[in-house]
Symmetry: C2
Subunit: 258 residues, 2 copies
């Protein structure tokens, strides 16, 4: 989906946001795509543990689609322990179940736990293992808890950047104030008075035309029409449009009957 607002200043991810640690990533393309997913979600700090093809990696830059600042700031470490040494909450993403007794969160809960942690003035990070093998058991043991993404159990394999995107997405949602449901566009909701004025006019015309018949059914038809239009949550403009529709339909001289 296109959508970046080019008029906005360059993205300034929150410096307190969780660090993304890619452990022994193989494909530069995946590192670049992960950087893009991070920036989508307001995450700015990437750390790389022993990237297979060295660093910097032109293949990563080619895939980063404007998130090159994330790559430019990435630091490289030799071991996972070094990469997380300054953090005090580390979550390890893992798809396989591990024979380690450890708290396991779904991504949404992980974001909530991370948010609370960071709100306390601490720093946190999320570990992502290499493309095929995932994290080693000793790296999982280094973490405070694991994160597992519930997906189709018969086909749950995610690529690296998609895993970063899903964790980042939940992080962003945990701090986002967009209402679950809203109304797009710029219409002003019509007042009940204006709605009623239109509906009363419509009913009068329908009565004159014989539509509200038999009388015993008229109250039901009236309520159905009210509910139909009120479910649409009419705007001022909608009410004006509907008046025009009715006027147009009424003066059907010169038109062929449908």
């Amino acid at each position: 989906m296109a959508g970046t607002d080019q008029s906005k200043a360059a993205a300034q991810p929150d410096a307190a946001a969780p660090v993304v640690i890619l452990v022994r990533p193989q494909m530069g393309e995946n590192i670049g795509a992960a950087a893009r997913a991070m920036l989508n979600c307001g995450l700015g700090e990437m750390r790389l543990v022993a990237p297979r093809d060295g660093w910097p990696n032109p293949a990563a830059e080619a895939m980063a689609s404007g998130a090159v600042a994330v790559l430019a700031g990435a630091k490289v470490y030799e071991t996972t322990a070094e990469a997380v040494a300054d953090l005090n909450l580390v979550l390890a993403t893992t798809a396989r179940s591990r024979d380690q007794v450890k708290d396991a969160y779904v991504p949404r809960e992980a974001a909530s736990v991370m948010k609370a942690h960071i709100a306390g003035g601490h720093r946190g990070g999320i570990l992502f293992g290499p493309e095929r093998a995932g994290l080693e058991n000793d790296e999982v043991a280094l973490a405070d808890a694991i994160v597992h993404v519930p997906l189709n159990p018969a086909f749950s394999s995610l690529n690296l950047a998609q895993a970063v995107l899903l964790l980042g997405y939940e992080w962003y949602q945990a701090g986002d104030a967009t209402p679950d449901q809203s109304m797009s566009g710029h219409g002003e909701p019509a007042s009940v008075e204006d709605r009623e004025y239109f509906l009363t006019r419509l009913e009068k015309e329908l009565y004159d035309g014989g539509f509200l018949f038999p009388e015993t059914l008229a109250p039901t038809i009236r309520r159905n029409l009210r509910n139909l239009f009120n479910r649409a949550r009419l705007t001022d403009q909608d009410v004006r449009t509907l008046h025009g529709v009715v006027s147009t339909l009424l003066k059907k001289e010169g038109r062929s009957d449908v």
Copy 2:
């Protein structure tokens, strides 16, 4: 992340799950990656409106990573209206704000609305526009509501497969029963009796060793130790391990003092 359970039967997406409609997709690679994301999320029915490079497309198959059944079942339509004609709830993903007065959902709410709709025995689908331009206004108007993914406003551009993944992810989560927090591994939680037996033993040894001193602070130290170990939610195995740790530390004859 590696993780598909190869022992499971081939994925059988729910036939009632929402249809994914890709409108004028350009890159075959994106169609393939979208198919993979769909199968990750238990979505099986893909429809294509006027794919730029025709159909079938070998580039799509190369990127589908095992989700070829989704591609094989994809139907092609000439117009968006034809592609959604049999559905009775259509959501349109859009990143740009539109000057159309329309319900707008975040993905989680969209999944919830779709779930309720499908639970009523109806069929629903989600429209995704072409890679750069997005859906045309008339296609958005065809839909019941729009879905907008809240992301970093300065860098919100998602590729097609990522948009499909996020919508699919929320769909899957809406029907998934994984507890927000659980414990991985196979440990049996220790009984309070066993925990207390260990802690009492530890305290006795610490008292003998002069650690619980001065007496006025001893109750605080005892409580801190209890809280430390109880936060860890010890398993039976953990308690056995800790007994061994204490026994080992006690018999330090022959070792150098640290």
